[in-house]
């Protein structure tokens, strides 16, 4: 603990005491992650409630007023006399219940000017329910569609790009477990069920050392703990799926559980069809979120959470495709004393897909799996008012099964498994959040990460052209390749005056697992590969500078952020790469550099009859490979120069709100042919340049009306009517080049558009 000397112990020895406890929602007992605790008498003194609802403040002996605030909750003042260590649990009441959403009251606004993590977005799960939806409500839809700094991977796709990073560079955590494929139904819905979620944070940069493993962003999603006060049932019916959530105390005051399910219902109608081919089709997805927590005495609490989701497609016995994630987390919170909080997690995560043709002896099936076992230990130490430290470590065992082949006797195909890959990924970190003065807040620390790719397996070596030059069997637990690196992180905020601040952040991130995809959008058959002697870890360095200013007692929050990101060892393919069942796949990959920079502007109004945001991002994202475009830098697919969004909600009265959202962005960079030639009588396009062209610019308007039909103590219900792409713009999903059907000599460009005027209705209830 040499580092302690850095944290500035005060020289004098005034008597100090600690006030600590949990901050929860009054109605259901949910922990309020990220709530702020401030001391009214001491300007700038306070802490943020941690991810388990715990806070700890150490102050000199005396009388204070503590102010508790959380987004969407009425602030609460609590007077305390601190002449001994105090335990103080606080319950906050939802703003909706106190004021109704249309009341202007600056006091409920959480002021983030002093938060050092400038590049963090928090989803207000209550507010986004009022926004338009595409077919189904989705908790990350508003982030990927309406935040210009987050770029959606494609029309209605759950995948996203952050500040020039790739689709696989986002660490998506659900109760600490990584979710390897966050999409349902070929990418059109995310796997997250908003009824089961409590908190969604997205770090675009400046993430503290506790997070690691991906280079671009961290999406930290926490499930609800379940109602600790009473039995609660809520649910909803949408066009595609229906949801039902049950939550209740286990033993009042001791614990609670939540079970939340969602399933698509379209296939129930298929089953009714008299047409056998339709009734034998399978087409459904489901999600099941489970969580329970139990308090063992004053100092210990145990959490158990799980997620199971699956998609199933199939036509009789001819064809079947299924994929899904399963995650499980066991956590133990322990309070060593009122300043030292510990969390121990044991985490499991599994993603797999399978497809098959035919049945019995004619069957050919393929399965691919990625599976993690993860042990994680974190300590939070509330050293004093000025310093909150966190120290921790974790070890993950990854198993990747690229392809297990199953084949019936008749096929003549040898049922064999592609070589399974094993690896250990680990990290140790230390971080401190320090209040240097009333104006200056810092977050800093270091993460050391390592990756050990090991047997049993086969070590392949390739020459420059991708031809294999050697293969060598490696025994179990024997190292094939070891990588490690230091990841320094720094973030800061400096308050210029009561209404404005500047923030500066730097982070270096390592990424040891990489996603290979055939398409540009996320697809269930994407392949995860690990770093190896051929595949180096991806490294990104990012620096971000922001200016934040609030107007009218924090009612209007504006920001300007600039970033520059440098990426090493980004991955692309050689032409003709086969990513399926290819043991020598690594020879088909090429490695290069990336850079991205941009400016993000945003204005948000979070209070009042009218709420909304206006944001604009101008950015550039480029890649460079020795093997592509004569080593010249070229635009990455997701390089969208201009990105603009305007989102507004007008609360007509207590019951009805109207929302509109308009988005516009520059078309993606794409590769088009310049010429053509014939091979075997087929027209073959002749390409001269990677990503040298642009898709047409994209824009659309979405509308929604929310109607809270009934609200009593016992029952409430609401309707959401949405219209996606209200003016029916034919946005290009893809542009393909092919011979005309009428005249094979004539070639043409054909644009495919999805989703013109998609109306949807959702009904939600709660009792």
């Amino acid at each position: 603990m040499i580092c302690l000397t850095f944290f500035g112990f005060n020289g004098y020895t005034q008597e100090k005491f600690t006030v600590s406890g949990h901050v929860t929602d009054n109605a259901n007992g949910e922990d309020l992650i990220g709530a702020q605790v401030r001391v009214a008498e001491l300007e700038g003194v306070g802490v943020v409630v941690n991810e388990y609802g715990f806070y700890s403040l150490t102050l000199e002996k005396g009388d204070y007023t503590l102010v508790f605030r959380s987004i969407g909750y009425a602030a609460l003042n609590e007077k305390i006399s601190l002449n001994q260590d105090l335990s103080l649990d606080i319950k906050l009441t939802s703003e909706d219940d106190v004021l109704g959403p249309m009341v202007v009251k600056g006091d409920t606004v959480v002021n983030t000017l002093d938060d050092a993590d400038g590049s963090k977005l928090t989803v207000d799960l209550g507010k986004i329910k009022e926004l338009p939806v595409l077919i189904e409500p989705d908790p990350i839809y508003a982030l990927t569609q309406y935040e210009t700094s987050i770029k959606s991977a494609g029309e209605g796709n759950a995948g996203f790009y952050v500040r020039g990073g790739g689709l696989d560079q986002n660490l998506i955590l659900l109760d600490e477990a990584p979710v390897y494929n966050p999409s349902h139904l070929l990418g059109f819905f995310s796997v997250f069920n908003s009824d089961a979620l409590k908190d969604v944070d997205l770090y675009k940069g400046g993430m503290l050392p506790e997070y690691g493993g991906r280079t671009s962003s961290v999406m930290d999603i926490r499930m609800k703990d379940g109602n600790k006060e009473k039995l609660g049932v809520s649910g909803g019916i949408g066009l595609v799926s229906s949801r039902l959530t049950v939550e209740a105390p286990i033993k009042k005051g001791k614990g609670s559980f939540i079970v939340s399910g969602r399933r698509s219902l379209v296939d129930l109608f298929l089953g009714l069809s008299p047409d056998e081919t339709i009734s034998q089709s399978k087409l459904f997805f489901y999600d099941l979120n489970l969580k329970a927590n139990y308090t063992l005495g004053k100092k210990d609490r145990i959490y158990l959470s799980g997620y199971f989701g699956r998609d199933n497609f199939g036509f009789g016995s001819t064809f079947g495709l299924t994929w899904g994630n399963a995650t499980g987390t066991i956590r133990w919170n322990h309070l060593f004393n009122n300043r030292l909080f510990s969390n121990t997690s044991f985490i499991y995560s599994n993603y797999d897909y399978k497809f098959s043709f035919g049945e019995d002896e004619d069957k050919v099936g393929l399965e691919s799996v990625i599976r993690d076992w993860n042990f994680k230990q974190d300590y939070s130490y509330y050293l004093n008012n000025e310093n909150s430290m966190k120290i921790g470590y974790n070890v993950i065992h990854h198993t990747i099964e690229p392809g297990n082949l199953e084949a019936g006797e008749n096929t003549g195909i040898i049922a064999q498994d592609a070589i399974k890959k094993y690896s250990l990924e680990g990290a140790v970190y230390i971080q401190n959040e320090q209040k240097v003065s009333n104006r200056l807040n810092l977050g800093y620390g270091l993460r050391y990460s390592f990756f050990n790719y090991m047997g049993d397996g086969v070590k392949y070596e390739f020459d420059e052209t991708g031809e294999m030059t050697s293969e060598q069997e490696v025994g179990a637990w024997e190292t094939i390749q070891f990588y490690h690196g230091l990841e320094p992180r720094f973030s800061s905020s400096y308050r210029l005056n009561p209404s404005s601040s500047v923030k500066l952040a730097y982070n270096r991130n390592y990424q040891y697992l990489h996603l290979l995809t055939n398409a540009t959008t996320s697809s269930p058959t994407d392949v995860w590969i690990n770093s190896s002697n051929n595949v180096k870890p991806q490294i990104a360095d990012q620096i971000a500078l922001g200016y934040f200013k609030n107007f009218k007692n924090n009612m209007y929050q504006t920001s300007v952020e600039a970033y520059y990101k440098d990426m090493q060892n980004v991955i692309d393919y050689r032409t003709g790469a086969d990513i399926f069942l290819n043991n020598e796949l690594e020879g088909d990959l090429v490695y290069g550099d990336g850079r991205a920079y941009g400016l993000e502007l945003s204005v948000k109004k979070t209070q009042g009859k009218f709420t909304g945001s206006l944001s604009y991002t101008i950015s550039k994202t480029e890649r460079q490979f020795d093997e592509i475009n004569d080593k010249q830098w070229f635009s990455a697919r997701q390089d969208r120069t201009h990105d603009l969004s305007a989102v507004g909600t007008f609360h007509v009265n207590k019951k009805v709100s109207i929302s509109a959202a308009w988005i516009y962005y520059t078309g993606d960079a794409v590769t088009f042919p310049t010429g053509k030639y014939l091979i075997d009588g087929q027209v073959v396009p002749y390409y001269t340049e990677r990503n040298g062209y642009r898709m047409p610019d994209y824009h659309r308007l979405d509308l929604a009306v929310n109607w809270k039909r009934k609200k009593t103590e016992k029952f409430e219900s609401s309707w959401n009517f949405s219209l996606y792409n209200a003016y029916g713009r034919e946005n290009a999903y893809s542009i393909s080049f092919r011979p005309s059907e009428d005249n094979p000599i004539q070639t043409e460009a054909v644009q495919l558009s999805l989703f013109r005027w998609v109306p949807s209705v959702t009904y939600n209830f709660k009792f």
């Binding site: 494609g154 070929l186 064809f319 995809t517 959008t521 032409t575 010429g675 999903y733 043409e748 495919l752």
Partner: protein, 268 residues
Amino acid sequence: MKLVYIFFGAVLMTSLWSCEKVIQVELNEEDSQLAIEAPLYAGTNTFRVTLTATNSYFEASLPNGVNGAAITLSDDQGSSQMLTAVGNGQYEAIVTAVPGRVYDLQVVLAGVTYTAQSRLLDVVTLDQLEAEYQPATGPIPEGYFLYNRFNDPANEENFYRFKHWVNDTLQNEGLDLIVFDDAFFDGNYVRLPLANQFFDLGDTVQVEMIHFDKPAYEFFNSMADIVSNDQSPNGGSAAPGNPISNWNNNALGYFVAMSSDTLEVVIQ
């Protein structure tokens, strides 16, 4: 995998709101590039080499032939012969190609020498074609699947291509280009579906199974990626580019020596 894509495409097309239209796209003008197409069949045949220059993608004409080249075919047994220009970018010779030999093709054009090499392999015989009825499944209508049965030579890498004709018409659209290797059935008696098509009762189907070497496979496999799919945003290939040619000096196209076997079946 191709069938998975077709399936995705079908789902996209039929179950979601989508529409297709022909649009105008401005493409850059680039210098044209030489493409050489040279299929050499086993046995005594007319060996025809076609030289063309790429033209603009939207130009409503076929690429022009390139005349004036000197073309020589030689093999590893020391024999060598010149091809005769017959006009329109085509060059011919009667060639007796012998399995086991490695062939070299040299094209000299405007002072540049282009070379490519290909090994002629033994024929692998198609044993049987089997038609099997498939009821209509979802968006795919009923029809007959055709299975090809053959013995794969053991303990060596083999590469194949299927070409097929329905009622004497060569099926030659993107998804009809079927190439594969034997990584998953080395040495076995195989039953492989001609996976891209359902046939109707009474159709006469001819299947030609071509056996060729790895560079040939790499060319046709990468070409299949590029021409086979037009429904994913990237045109189906992980990285759109030009097929992997076995010509040097950036010439497009291929020189492939191949042996083949053909069977015919009437669907009943």
